[in-house]
Assembly symmetry: C2
Homo-oligomer: 351 residues x 2
DNA sequence: CCCAATCAGCTAATCGTTTAAATTTTGGTT
DNA sequence: AACCAAAATTTAAACGATTAGCTGATTGGG
């Protein structure tokens, strides 16, 4: 079933059929109707492969994910998918599956940069996608990698370190300040922090937000109360143990963990020391993982609007393609995050 | 950069270049080398769109997911992706996002059947994928829907109710029996069951396994101890409350919930009644959700090998395409599940 | 009534591959 | 040196759309 069959059936040329399908040129109403009827009757769908060859556009967006099993990825893709549904674009998914070798040696990680480059090159030259959305967890410099990709690239969640790639990321600093304020407003004065990997951008931004809030409140952040974790649950436990052991006399009354996993690790440690959350020590996290609603007590945390990140990234990429729209020229957009207040912060009235 | 450029540069015809790329015909060694050199030098990659048009094969597998946010989906895609990496196939992802309207009225659900049909039709006629993998949660009869799709379809996780579609699903009954046996071996005699939605296939299979094990052990399943849940946490809580209230004297000593969410709901109820898990009542779940490692005590459960389901589905679909391999003709393959023994089952020595 | 402008519709070239069929080369036999 | 089958190579026709450019027909102003 090709355009030729439709043309013959409707008694017109293939050009005319093409014009009515794309309505790219005026066609007399009754002829148009005849064509439409034949199309409806036969259930004809134009062959996108042929169309792509001719127009050099595939209507396919490559989605290159660092790892689909990483917490944000599927949610971001959900957002992308929701936006795409109202367009003619479709998703070609490439999953780098980086978590498999995440904790490997440095040369492994370099090899992964090759992997990104290779995947991008395939999407660009091989699959001939119109644009790509890179769903990354780590802020990494992909500037070398995207050379030669003369198509729109937008990075979702993390940032790219390249000015040719637009990025859609999330509010980090301001919301961390808000979360810290929430704890301060509850009357806490001795506040500890368990950071993520200290050299990563999110860890630095969150720390900045926390520091700002503490300063603002006329308090100060005791550097002995800042412990470096690595985003994992076990490190939250370890950091909390240090905190518990180091100053028996002046325990912090609240600990701000930079993600939920570490917050839960910290809660384990607190419980292990026969103290109660939040009566003895308040705890907050970041991410709003589903577990944070399952632990006891339920964790107060921050929710990143991952779906909106995906939705907006998709919107941005299609607008860059059409050249029109609010994001068509944008370099960087930041999606607001929001506080999720649950049960791990207690009011504190001691001086 | 096209095959013509390569041909000119290497001083051969385009046909020869094509033959060395696909090595589909003998080419004299030194000529082949010349072509290879030019390809390497220029970084030429054949235009897959043109190739697809000519060969009527796209090397693209459509992955049609009921919802990428559903627990199994991303893990299954991870498996698909891992297998695909060693092939020349790529993934076109369509997400139906069914969870959004899952609890809506019946006509909504019918509308979703339209959605499946429409998506499948697009993949088939529009995107011209070579085959499709349907990643479904619900056993549904898609037999009407796949008519006219004359391409391999394999259903991953759920089953299709259609003999034209192969399905890769997981061990349900036997592992449920094994789990029940684990509880029985610990000395439990009064065993309660919290089922999933009673009309669904997994709920029925799991119940069958449990019944078999109980029978086998010379015990019997008291129908007053079988409560119908709906897979959600709240229903686990509600069922457990019923169990706790109904027979003060003869409480079950163990409850088998058909998934982790309901098991956790049951644990909430038990704790709420001032009883202890597992000392007073043992609990087991199914799925090995990540939360089951975070709750206290850690939940004993069953792990479905979702990655293997995806991997095998991908394998099956490519083998059906090539016509060779162990799954090329297979109708149905079942992936073994495994027990995850943690802390919610206690030894019981009372009669 | 004529001419130019506008409009509808058609013809045919084109996109970049693959591959059947035609052609040329190779090398072994006589 | 001539012949011939087999092997290597090339030519050119597809695949199914889009679209530039052409042809006639219609319209309307002078």
């Amino acid at each position: 079933m090709t355009i030729k069959d439709i043309a013959r059936e409707a008694g017109v040329s293939t050009a005319t059929v093409s014009y009515v399908i794309n309505d790219s040129k005026n066609v007399m109403p009754e002829k148009r109707q005849r064509v439409l009827d034949v199309i409806a009757k036969t259930g004809y769908q134009p062959n996108r492969v042929a169309k792509s060859l001719r127009t050099k556009k595939t209507s396919i967006i490559g989605v290159l994910a660092e790892d689909i099993l990483a917490f944000p990825t599927a949610r971001i893709i959900n957002g992308i998918s929701e936006y795409m549904e109202q367009t003619d674009y479709h998703i070609l998914l490439s999953d780098l599956r980086m978590m498999d070798s995440l904790f490997n040696r440095y040369d492994q990680i370099v090899h992964q940069k090759d992997k990104i480059s290779e995947a991008l090159s395939f999407l660009n030259f091989g699959a001939k996608v119109d644009a790509v959305i890179y769903v990354g967890m780590f802020d990494r410099d992909i500037s070398g990698v995207i050379t030669g990709v003369n198509k729109p690239i937008v990075v979702a969640y993390s940032t790219s370190g390249d000015e040719h790639a637009c990025s859609v990321t999330y509010e980090n600093e301001a919301i961390s300040a808000q979360l810290a304020n929430h704890v301060i407003d509850a009357g806490h004065k001795r506040i500890a922090v368990i950071t993520g990997l200290a050299h990563t951008a999110p860890a630095q931004m969150r720390l900045k937000g926390i520091q700002a809030a503490i300063q603002e409140a006329g308090l100060s952040l005791d550097s002995a109360l800042v412990k470096n974790g690595d985003w994992e649950r076990a490190s939250g436990y370890a950091c909390m143990m240090e905190l518990l052991e180091q100053e028996r006399g002046v325990l912090p009354t609240a600990v701000l963990a930079m993600n939920d996993l570490m917050a839960i690790g910290a809660m384990d440690a607190i419980r292990g020391a026969n103290l109660r959350v939040p009566e003895d020590i308040s705890v907050v996290g970041f991410d709003n993982r589903e577990v944070s609603d399952f632990v006891f007590p339920k964790l107060t945390t921050v929710e990143i609007d991952l779906k909106a990140i995906g939705f907006t990234a998709a919107q941005a990429v299609t607008q860059k393609l059409s050249g029109a729209g609010e994001y068509a020229e944008e370099r960087s957009v930041i999606i607001p995050s929001k506080l999720i207040l649950r049960d791990t912060v207690a009011q504190r009235s001691d001086t």
